[in-house]
Structure formats: C-alpha cells, structure tokens
Symmetry: C2
Subunit: 405 residues, 2 copies
C-alpha cells in the first residue's frame, strides 16, 4: 500500500501553493520582485540582536537560555507585551498572554481550538492566505466576512444552518491587511463586534502589521473596543494575535496571543503538546531588544517603509492604464490591484517574469472561494524608491498590452 493512503482526511485540504513554489525558484539577476511579503533585512536591528544573544549566553543566564522552559513563555517578555498591549488600550495580565512561534502559530492553534470539521470560519474575500492554510488543517466551511457590507447576522446563521454548520469565529486583520493593505474603520470594528455578539462567535484579530502605520492616528484594536464594552478581558470573545516578525525579525519566529484566561489556558495545553515552548534563548533576546529599542526602531521602519509606499502610490498614479484600481494603504507592506474582469493575473505573472523580469502574487490564492483571478498583490517592502518606480513602469507596460486584448 502507498503510505499516502494512510493519511488523515484533513490532508486533502493541504495542497502546495503553485505560486509559492514558482516564486521560490526565482533568484534571477535584476529581478524586481513585488512578491514576497517580507521585511527588508537591511532594516533588522542586527547589532542589537548580536549584543542580546551574547548577553543571554553569558554564564549567569546560559543555563536558563538553553534549558526547557514553561509553555506560557518567558515572563519578562510577557510583561513587556503586557505593557505594549496597555498602550494599545488592552488591559490584561501576563496570564492573558501566550508566547507563540510567530503569529502564524497562534492562527494554527486557534483553528485547532475552535474548528471541528465543517464548523464555519468567517474570513475576508480576500484574506491572508497563511490563515486559510492554517485553518484548512481543521476542515472548516468558510463564509464571506464583509464588515463594510450590509449582510445581516441572520443570513450568516441561516447559511451555516443550511450547511449543518455553526459559526465559530470571524478572522480578520484590521490594520493594513495582507493582502489588500486596507484598514477597518472604528465604525467597522464596532459593527464587527455587534455581528460577533449577535452570532455568539469569537473574533480572531490579526495584528501583524499594527505597528507599521505611516499616516493618521492609530485606531484601537478590536479587543480594546470589546474590553471597553464589557469591562474586562475575561468577558471578551476576541483573541488578539501579535508578532515581532514585521518589527524586529521574522526569522526568530516570535509572536503572541492575548485573550481571556480560559482561551490562553487551552492554548498553553496545545503548545505543551505540540512543541513544548518557543525557544527560550530567542524569547530572552527578543525581550532585550524590545526593551532596548522597540520604539525608536519602529519609528525608523515607519519612515523607510512609508517612503517606499509613497513611491509605489506615485508610480501607480503616474503609469497605470485606465481600468485598473488599487488600494491606498495607510501602513503595512501591500497594495492590492484590481484589473478588468477578463484579465487572469496568473497568466500575467508568467509574462511579467519572461518579458519584464518583475514578480508579484496573483490574487486568487487569497480567496477561500477561488475567486479573484483579476486581482494581484504588490509588496513595497524590499525595493528602494527607484526600483519601485522602474518595476511599476514595467508592470504598467505589460498591463497596457494585457488589458488592451
């Protein structure tokens, strides 16, 4: 017998992304890539990390740094996060915080926590494809979360009931979302909480890009708004997922989840069973670097990435042909393009690589229903302003051909 005949049913939902595989192979000279949603490594606080790792491996701390530790996470780091959450309007204890291996791990655990097969997850059309990948392992049904739209709670409930399902949570990234770059307004956040209350479901708030705002005032996290309604985090159904990947380093895999204690307690059990704990040394180093320079470092990132966003928006304005629209993100790393209905962006990518030596991510992978063939995601995080301008010019030239057809 072939061993894959022994695999569990959930593996049918776990497929390799063709696009991801294609982009992995790209390492050509001169390629201008708008594809990867990754931070610029030139902006990592490398010297600070070097000092922090060295300090954590001094005789005083090395036994702790290299030994097993508790699943909840390194206490000083959780205390630092508690302070950071308080600044964002989320009053909580360290016992409301779990350290995870990136916010991606929090998404996996939350899928595992809430989803039995055929339970309903509400997600944006489009949404973060890593969230879909994490949730898919637990075989959910998806329905379209559309906080700006006018779909009634009853229609969600009826659709779930018809599919013999039940809405477990709504997932979204309210600030500068991957892939669209869009931000949910304060009114939209309140409406989402109304919807979650009516549906009696949880809210998974992905705050991965929260710190990277380039203009305007910060809007409180959904969890902060729910605490304001209910008086205490213990009465809240929102789970906040944070990450150091976009601020300090993605390669260290360090994130966190904040929620009512029964949720965190269950996630701690999951972590104990799944990987025991995130590496102790990394938690110590991230704590030291965050404590030393988080605010000043993030201020520098905002300036650098903000300038790149400006360069991209100007270039789009200058070069894009008629019939193409795009988002105007106030932060994050992404701009989202919508092309005329008949254009297939996967096909455009093939030509973009061949003819113009540029890359982007076709939008379809971000749609739980397989829609979005005429959309694409551009990242402005790793190219400088001149490269962005050149790349957008090339893309415009290509789309001029494409849309003319």
């Amino acid at each position: 017998m072939l061993i894959d005949q022994l695999f569990a049913t959930r593996t049918h939902r776990m497929k390799a992304s063709e696009i991801r595989e294609l982009l992995k192979l790209l390492n050509r000279p001169g390629l201008l890539s708008f594809a990867g949603g990754i931070p610029d490594p030139d902006l990592f606080p490398s010297a600070e990390f070097s000092a922090a790792f060295q300090a954590a491996l001094q005789p005083k701390d090395q036994a702790e740094a290299l030994q097993y530790s508790v699943s909840e996470g390194y206490l000083p780091l959780r205390q630092w996060i508690k302070g950071e959450m308080a600044r964002m309007g989320v009053a909580c204890d360290v016992d409301n915080i779990l350290i995870t291996s990136g916010s991606q791990q929090a998404l996996d655990y939350l899928g595992k926590l809430f989803l039995s097969p055929n339970d309903t997850a509400l997600v944006g059309w489009p949404t973060y494809l890593g969230a879909l990948a994490a949730f898919n392992a637990y075989e959910p049904r998806y329905d379209q979360l559309n906080p700006g739209g006018n779909r009634s709670p009853t229609s969600y409930r009826d659709a779930a009931a018809e599919a013999n399902s039940r809405v477990k949570f709504a997932y979204l990234s309210p600030d500068f979302a991957n892939p669209t770059g869009e931000t949910l307004s304060l009114v939209g956040r309140e409406a989402l909480l109304d919807l979650a209350e009516e549906l009696d479901c949880a809210v998974i708030e992905d705050g991965a890009y929260h710190a990277l705002r380039y203009e305007g005032e910060a809007i409180p996290p959904i969890l902060a708004l729910e605490i304001a309604r209910k008086g205490s985090i213990e009465d809240c159904q929102t789970i906040y997922c944070g990450s150091f990947s976009k601020t300090l380093s993605p390669g260290l895999r360090m994130g966190w989840a904040v929620a009512a204690k029964p949720v965190i307690a269950q996630m701690v059990l999951m972590k104990q069973a799944a990987d025991l704990h995130s590496p102790t040394l990394n938690q110590m180093a991230v704590y030291k670097v965050a404590e030393a320079c988080f605010d000043s470092h993030v201020a520098g990132l905002r300036q650098a990435y903000g300038a790149r966003r400006d360069a991209m928006l100007s270039a789009l304005e200058a070069f894009m042909p008629e019939g193409i629209s795009w988002t105007k993100p106030k932060g994050g790393m992404f701009v989202w393009l919508t092309l005329p209905q008949h254009v297939d962006t996967a096909e455009v990518l093939t030509r973009a690589l061949e003819q113009e030596n540029i890359a982007f991510v076709p939008g379809q992978a971000f749609f739980a229903d397989g829609d979005g063939c005429n959309t694409l995601r551009l990242s402005f995080s790793v190219l400088d302003a001149d490269e962005i301008r050149t790349g957008i010019q090339r893309l415009a030239r290509l789309l001029n051909q494409g849309t003319r057809v």
Copy 2:
C-alpha cells in the same frame, strides 16, 4: 455564552496534567527531584553555542539568520543530519529530512498527518506522555503495542474493526524509552516491522535518547532495518524522529523527521501552515555546534550520565525493600519502578514531598488506559551520585512504610 462552548470537540481530550502542575510549583530548598526528564544544564556546550550565535550574527550571515526561510529547514543542518543518519544505517537524501521544533513537533505533525478521529494508534502501556498529549489532539483510539508479547496481527485488526476503526501507526521509542528506560532488541524490532507490514500501518520511531547509550553495542534504528528489507527509504513506512534536546540543548527546540518523500512533503506543508519554519538563527547555531563538537560532546555526556545511572542502580539494589522491581536501562535518563499492586504512587508522591523532600513522577500518566497506579518514573539526569544515593535512600524509607501497610 461562555467561550469554551465554542471550543472544538478535540479540546475534551486536552487536559492539564495535575502532576505536571504540581511539579511546576516545586522549588523548595533541598528538594532532591527525580521528576524532570531534563538534561543537566551544567553539561550544555554553552561556550560553543555562544561562539556559534556570535558567528551567525556577523554581517555576512545576519540577514539570513534573522529573515524568513524555507519550511524544510536550513540546508547545511539537513546535510549534517543526513551524514548522522547514514552513520546509523539510514541512507537518505536531504529531501527526506524536515527540521522540526523539537521531536515533539514531529509527533504533533505525525498525529495530524495520520489520525482522523477514532483512527487507531498503537502505543506502549506505558509510553511517552508527550506523545499521548500530541496524538490526543487528533482524537484517536489507542490499542496496546506489545512487541515483546504474542498478540497476533489479526487480534489488532479485529479489535480495530470492532471499534469501527483502522490501525494507522505504531509509535515507540526503541532505545532507552521514556518512561521505562527499556530498549527493544533487534529481534523485537524485526517483529515490529513484521507486525506493521501485516497491519499495513506506519511506524513512528522516536529516537530522542538514541545517542545516550552507556553500555553495549548500538542496535540499528527500525528505519535502518526497514531500508535493509526494502532497498530504499522511498518504500518504507517508518518515520524516524530525532532530537538535539538531549545532546546539545532542549531550550533551542531543534529536532528532525526522516521519512519517504511523500511523507516529508506533506509535513513541510503542515509546517508552512503551522509556524512557517523553525528559527533560522537557531538552525545555523545548532549546525555550527554539531559540526564542531557533536561526537566529543556526546562522549562526555555518556560518561557523566552513565555514572549517574550506575549510582541509581547501586542505590536501588542497596536500599529498596522486597516486592519492588525496576528496569536496568542501558542508556537514557530513566529507571521505572513497579510497586506492589495495592500501592498508589500518586499518594506516595504527596508523602514523598512532605516527609522526605524528594519528587518523582507517578506512572499512571504514561498509560493510555489509565492503568499503572503502582508504577513510578525516576530520572537520574540532574542529580550527582551522592544526591542520587541519598534520594533513593529516602524513597526506600518511605516505600518501606508504604508497602508494609
């Protein structure tokens, strides 16, 4: 509604271990603990790690060390593991190897890969409790794996069929297993492969303690024996899980899985969806330290832990009352005691803490069927020979009372 009413059914199988919680609180002066199955931090290669982290954070490598990387793992580390597996008789490619966050993560992914609810996992009675915790999340049925016994393949198949189930894999740790310290003989390993072939199921081989042998010749891993039968790893149904936790450092959370490519490919997708990859920097540092001193470092561990095992076995021989039996491990960190049937070791633990200031782990948690109340696990890894002798003397005094009742 209380949020735990939204939790998936699998959470019913995820309970906090009372014993683990109890032991977590223990930090009293003078306590002699045989409880934790953890390496001695004085034996970590701390200087080597300090140098390795410093080197990986030099300008040449720092961008790679702190950036996102591929889910498969850092190539030089996979190449090193390929060499190590070859020395153990396992011929494989780097594409047969996935880097995991400890072998615990490999166990979680393998549960996720094979187990739909009610599928059967064969496990020892007792077995590693972390394996039970990892598998429980996928709601399996358990049956007793007893490679030394004479249960027929048919009886496993019939029992599974009666429960409307199917045997997916057998899990075991063939060398110096946690919790018993016992080793499966060559004949036993071949018999296990026969059983797995007859049942058409996979074998999950947990090699966490493999390197820590204190006497006798190494026995080939089950995967090596299956490759010898079938000619190629691609035709094998055994998955080997390795770990650096007991040799270099547990706190860095670094392990690996070795298997046929379709299995590894599916585990790579899981890792991509669950935490993207293990921390790049840690993989680079573990590679550097393994490359620099693995063999000599492990030789030192064998000597140190071997002496502690000798001290424990001598003390047991000298002090234990009649009616108590124990294993004689050839490696690893554990000795397993079986007390008279009427003794409840959870109750003995309470008295051990109160009266003798010693700790151990009661055996029941290691049994999927809740049996084993009269068993307990002793670890000899963190105490020196004198402490071990004193602690065993105290335990013997207590059991002399207990068994007299």
